[in-house]
């Protein structure tokens, strides 16, 4: 059974704090993604990684960075949290050695920045 695990379900952080969101997958997938979900805006891609130490900006990378030191782990970093980063954060992974594959999502992290 495939599994994408995010380290926290709920987080509350203060403005200006450095925040780490961790994601681990056990499927040996090459691609990993970070999205955020906001009401009325759908799922927006922040960053994705197609291999260890490889990363690419998504649609809304400002204020975020990522780290992928091991294939199974993809971290999202908020360098200095702001209230407009309050959101649901979703990690996903996807296999790439076949043409048509779905992405598997973690359970999400609800981050509140106060």
């Amino acid at each position: 059974d495939v599994k994408v695990t995010q380290s926290s379900r709920y987080l509350v952080k203060r403005t200006g704090e450095k925040v780490f969101l961790e994601c681990v997958q056990d499927m040996d997938h090459e691609n990993m993604f970070w999205y955020r979900q906001d009401p009325g805006l759908g799922l927006r891609l922040i960053y994705f990684s197609y291999d260890v130490k490889m990363k690419e900006k998504g649609d809304i990378p400002e204020g975020y960075s990522v780290s992928r030191e091991k294939k199974e782990r993809f971290s999202l970093i908020l360098e200095s949290a702001s209230t407009n980063q309050t959101s649901m954060y979703l990690c996903a992974s996807r296999q790439t050695d076949t043409t048509y594959t779905e992405a598997f999502f973690g359970q999400g992290t609800r981050l509140t920045v106060v």
Partner: protein
């Protein structure tokens, strides 16, 4: 520029009837399309997909139709059940090892008992 559009934010149907959720895309390079279902406070779960070489794919109560010339796809749920009440996201992708999924804004489906 929104490449995947779900123009109706919500849909309400009676239990037992058909639910039709629509999705349009603008990028002609997309060749793989997916539907995800999401409950509050949970991650999206994959529902059904279709590649551009097909125009229909069916899985139990769920059928996805693809009209490439119109750049339009739809998800049909028959019969609708109260447990189908959720947000449904349409997503699209291009062939390629490092392609990403581009999502629409989602449709909130409510199935009334």
């Amino acid at each position: 520029d929104q490449q995947v559009k779900q123009n109706s934010p919500s849909l309400s149907v009676q239990e037992g009837r058909i639910s039709i959720l629509n999705c349009d895309y603008t990028n002609s390079m997309f060749d793989y399309f997916l539907w995800y279902k999401k409950y509050p406070a949970e991650g999206p779960t994959f529902l059904i997909s279709i590649s551009s070489i097909k125009d229909k794919n069916e899985d139990g109560r769920f059928t996805v139709f693809l009209n490439k010339s119109a750049k339009h796809l739809s998800l049909h749920i028959v019969p609708s059940q109260p447990g189908d009440s959720a947000v449904y996201f349409c997503a699209a992708s291009r062939t390629g090892a490092n392609s990403k999924l581009t999502f629409g804004k989602g449709i909130t489906l409510s199935v009334r008992p």
